[in-house]
């Protein structure tokens, strides 16, 4: 089977962004995932976020590993470069891409198998490097392409479609990211576009590693009663703690908030995230408290969502640590890289 191209019809009335592009220009091929798959909603959120951010599609690199989630880059931003790497190793490809061209917008899409099992090491090290990218985990607690095995994010007591009960504790990418010093840690639900779109936009504008763990139910293998990653379960136990509104640079803050309700965080390009407390007492700038809060809610079976932690100031990203020049390394002319013949001859005195 080959991929299915989506017919491109642009209606006259479609809104155009600052680049003169319509939302259709940010779409991709037809999805081959199961009807109702949570991943397709995330795809739609990505399309909307990049359209609204006025980012030229060809300056985006779509990175993925292997799995259902990793197939999705084919379904959005068809004018972007895509890199479907080997299983669990997308973070290393993204690291190299960023090292060579720091101007690329790197968007990684991975899954719970790809990031929390085979690729756990690479995922954690990309986060530790504070690689400047958005890293979305489409988390459904199950292996789809190999038909229904538990993944490492499956909750204790969660039932598989064939009745098996998971007894191993889940790996939570959000708690791990908080513990490892992640600079932007968010969680959302594929069914909540209101929440997800601004998170993606803020993640793109954040300088450093922006983790967005998105609960994304698998309709075929993990949407039954007894599953803790089903649509029904997600809706019932979703616990939004903090909502992030994204405000582009120079735009006015239009919504009215009660004083003290909202904490604006300025991102490196001048845009802002407005953090609105949904749950009383939640503090998105306190790493330790965030972990405590998430764990406390987890004991009651609830899943805390929102922009759970952001630190825009202290951490350096890969290039900040390395001290790389601002011009992408891949674009430096050769003359600036080669020390030349005289330098070589002079250097060799030390080898005599």
């Amino acid at each position: 089977m080959t991929s299915i191209a989506k017919p491109k019809i642009v209606h006259q009335g479609l809104r155009r962004n600052a680049l003169g592009l319509t939302v259709r220009d940010y779409e991709g091929g037809m999805s081959t995932l199961c009807a109702g798959c949570g991943h397709d909603s995330i795809t739609a959120a990505i399309v909307q976020a990049f359209f609204e951010l006025d980012i030229a599609p060809h300056s985006v690199a779509k990175m993925s590993g292997i799995g259902c989630s990793s197939k999705t880059p084919a379904y959005f931003l068809s004018a972007s470069h895509g890199f479907n790497s080997v299983h669990g190793r997308m973070p290393s490809i993204a690291t190299g891409a960023s090292a060579a061209n720091r101007e690329l917008y790197l968007l990684g899409v991975s899954g719970d198998g790809d990031s929390l099992s085979i690729g756990l090491g690479q995922f954690m090290h990309a986060l530790r490097r504070n690689l400047d990218m958005v890293y979305i985990i489409e988390n459904n607690g199950v292996y789809g392409l190999t038909k229904g095995q538990f993944s490492a994010s499956a909750d204790v007591g969660s039932e598989a479609k064939r009745g098996e009960v998971n007894q191993q504790p889940p790996i939570d990418p959000v708690q791990m990211a908080l513990a490892l010093g992640g600079s932007f840690v968010a969680r959302s639900f594929s069914g909540d576009k209101e929440q997800l779109v601004p998170l993606i936009k803020a993640g793109v504008r954040h300088r450093g590693f922006a983790l967005i763990d998105v609960l994304s139910p698998c309709v075929t293998f993990n949407d039954h009663e007894g599953s803790t990653k089903s649509y029904a379960h997600a809706r019932e136990f979703n616990h939004p703690a903090i909502h992030a509104d994204f405000v582009p640079p120079a735009a006015e803050i239009k919504a009215s908030y009660e004083e003290g309700d909202v904490l604006p965080v300025e991102l490196h390009d001048g845009s802002r995230v407005l953090l609105r407390k949904v749950a009383m007492g939640y503090d998105a700038s306190n790493r330790g408290a965030a972990i405590e809060y998430i764990r406390a809610r987890q004991r009651d079976g609830e899943v805390v969502t929102g922009l759970l932690y952001i630190d825009e100031k202290t951490g350096l990203d890969l290039h900040g640590i390395n001290g790389t020049v601002s011009v992408p390394l891949a674009r430096l002319p050769y003359e600036e890289l080669c020390p030349g013949r005289d330098a070589l001859l002079a250097l060799q005195k030390r080898f005599r």
């Binding site: 880059p73 470069h81 973070p91 190299g96 891409a97 060579a100 790389t324 020049v325 890289l337 013949r341």
Partner: protein
């Protein structure tokens, strides 16, 4: 023993037995550099343990007026500084040779030999009397034996002092103490010993225009000069010094003195799986990128190597081979990754390999590797080894053609894409099997999808047999193109019509060259083809055809080069004979000399 009279000027082997972590490396390199600066060809081999402190270590220096750089196979002068290995060190000295030991402590009487001269010098005692600091005493003991040897071998004291001054230019206090220790040994020897030995040096002018450099340093320089900007690695002996050197050269040449901004990026990855991934991400984005590794690292990189072959991404790897499998003997040398590198990964894969023979070629072939990787859009693996990578070799000075421009291959620019009607990633536009590629962020028309899944010539996902075969058959065609582009073998012809040939790669070269000279002196002639690249080109095939009997010399147990030759050329196995050296120490000429002598004798008998 009465001293033999026959002088051995500029033709002997000196070996120093020591304990690692005692600072003997600088003393030994001082000895070797002194010989080099006196204009006499010299080579040094370091046999060190996989350990930081306390285990036996040896350094072998061959002084050779004829310029032979391989090991000679025997030891003429042993400096036995390690009580643990004294017995075996004593046994290793060739009859008529000399053993120098530290006579501060008594030796076991049973350990003696009548056919060599044993010289005792109270090195520790002298240093303890002269120096106060405990660590200094240990370090200076090494300098003291250099002083003793300076007298015994007639090394030029001025050259030694000059080298000390250069080495410790930034630590003037050390110049004084090191010089004192040298004189301590020198004066003692002149006063108490019969100097010089028959094995001694005499200045020549055979090292002008040469340097002493290790292969990892030279390869790192090649990376700098080729314009590599991204390096990713996971530390592994014996490749580690390659990235260390790259970083230090970049700090010197690629760092803005005012702003401190760097025109390079080195990422120490979490493992080799990531190191190769980082390289591929970087080359995909348009940088020249590389990773140094060794056998175990190459194994971990296998999955991505197949991916890179199939998705057609450039990458440069340096496999500084060591003894395997597994941890094996990480500080010993071998050529045992040939097959693993040639066919790394699952599925149908083949990789371009380059085989430098010495540090000079590490420099040159590093540059070639980047050009080939970009031109062919595929990984290129430079197969060096520990002997080349970590030992200092005498080689011609490195030179650089100022007119050199990197061959970045078929990369479409924004202007190309602007005027192009369309772009399809895997279409064979020029009939050479090499498609065109684009870089992310350059032009909207350049976007395509890199995927390890089956893809058609347009880059689209496919599971269609015909479309898949079209792509992999073109990859075969590209492989044929590669065979024409890779460096040709170096062929040494003895005289017209030699029926016997020798084939080898890499660091076997020095030993083979010496063997062929020795054999020629006895009237035994053979031609020699030093393969420098895989795929094997036309000239390698011709060489095989032209010679009735070909010896394949290599440093592994399973005759991997021979296997590769048989698999890739369909040559008759009966016409190839292996000479295998795989104990982990650099080879000397003897295995080659003996095998060819036996062959010649059989020929005469028949």
């Amino acid at each position: 023993m009465a001293r033999q009279q026959k002088s051995r000027i500029n033709d002997f082997v000196l070996k120093i037995a020591n304990v690692n972590g005692t600072g003997s490396a600088s003393a030994n390199s001082l000895l070797m550099k002194t010989v080099f600066r006196m204009g006499i060809p010299v080579s040094g081999k370091n046999f060190f343990p996989s350990n930081i402190q306390g285990l036996p270590t040896w350094y072998e220096i061959r002084v050779s007026k004829d310029g032979y750089l391989a090991r000679s196979g025997s030891v003429d002068i042993m400096v036995a500084m390690n009580a643990q290995t004294y017995a075996r060190d004593l046994q290793e000295v060739a009859p008529g040779g000399v053993l120098l030991y530290d006579s501060t402590w008594p030796r076991d009487r049973l350990l003696s030999r009548a056919d060599i001269e044993v010289i005792g010098v109270p090195l520790a005692r002298m240093c303890n009397e002269r120096f106060a600091n405990a660590r200094t005493r240990i370090l200076m003991k090494n300098m003291a034996y250099v002083g003793v040897l300076a007298a015994l071998l007639e090394l030029d004291r001025d050259v030694i002092v000059e080298l000390i001054k250069e080495t410790f230019a930034r630590k003037p206090a050390l110049i004084e103490s090191n010089q004192q220790a040298i004189d301590l040994g020198l004066d003692y020897a002149r006063e108490h010993l019969e100097c010089p030995l028959p094995q001694r040096v005499k200045a020549l002018n055979k090292t002008t225009g040469h340097i002493m450099i290790d292969g990892n340093t030279a390869a790192a320089l090649g990376c700098v000069y080729a314009g590599a900007t991204v390096g990713a690695w996971y530390p592994i002996t014996p490749s580690t010094s390659l990235m260390d050197a790259f970083k230090s050269f970049c700090e010197r040449y690629r760092k803005d003195p005012q702003t401190g901004e760097r025109k390079y990026c080195v990422v120490q990855a979490e493992d080799e799986l990531a190191a190769i991934g980082i390289v591929l991400g970087a080359t995909w984005s348009g940088a020249r990128a590389f990773t140094p590794t060794s056998g175990p690292g190459l194994s971990l990189m296998s999955e991505f190597l197949g991916f890179a072959y199939f998705t057609e991404l450039p990458a440069v790897l340096f496999d500084v081979q060591r003894v395997g499998p597994s941890t094996g003997m990480p500080t010993r040398t071998q050529q045992a990754d040939l097959l693993a590198a040639a066919y790394a990964s699952h599925g149908d894969t083949k990789h371009v390999l380059l085989f430098p023979r010495d540090p000079h070629e590490c420099f040159e072939l590093a540059v070639t590797a980047f050009d080939l990787a970009d031109r062919l859009q595929t990984p290129v693996i430079v197969l060096s080894d520990l002997d080349i990578g970590m030992n200092d070799w005498l080689c011609p000075e490195l030179d650089w053609d100022p007119a050199y421009q990197p061959d970045r291959g078929k990369v479409l620019s924004a202007a190309d894409l602007e005027t192009a009607k369309s772009f399809h990633r895997y279409v064979d536009v020029h009939g050479d099997g090499i498609p065109q590629r684009t870089l992310p962020g350059v032009h909207p028309r350049g976007a395509y999808f890199v995927r390890g899944s089956g893809h058609n010539q347009y880059g689209g996902y496919t599971e269609d047999s015909e479309e898949y075969r079209e792509v992999v058959d073109r990859l075969s065609k590209k492989w044929q193109t590669a065979a024409k582009l890779v460096p040709e073998p170096v062929i040494r012809r003895s005289r017209k019509g030699a029926a016997v040939g020798v084939i080898a790669v890499g660091s076997c070269d020095a030993a083979i060259e010496e063997a062929l000279d020795r054999l020629a002196a006895k009237g035994i002639h053979a031609d020699y083809c030093r393969i420098r690249a895989f795929p094997f080109g036309k000239k390698v095939r011709q060489f095989l055809e032209q010679h009735e009997h070909v010896f394949v010399v290599e440093q592994n147990r399973d005759a991997q080069l021979k296997t590769l030759l048989l698999a890739e050329t369909q040559h008759s196995p009966a016409r190839l004979q292996s000479i295998l050296h795989y104990g982990g120490l650099p080879m000397d000429h003897r295995c080659v000399t003996e095998a060819l002598e036996q062959h010649a004798a059989r020929g005469v008998a028949a």
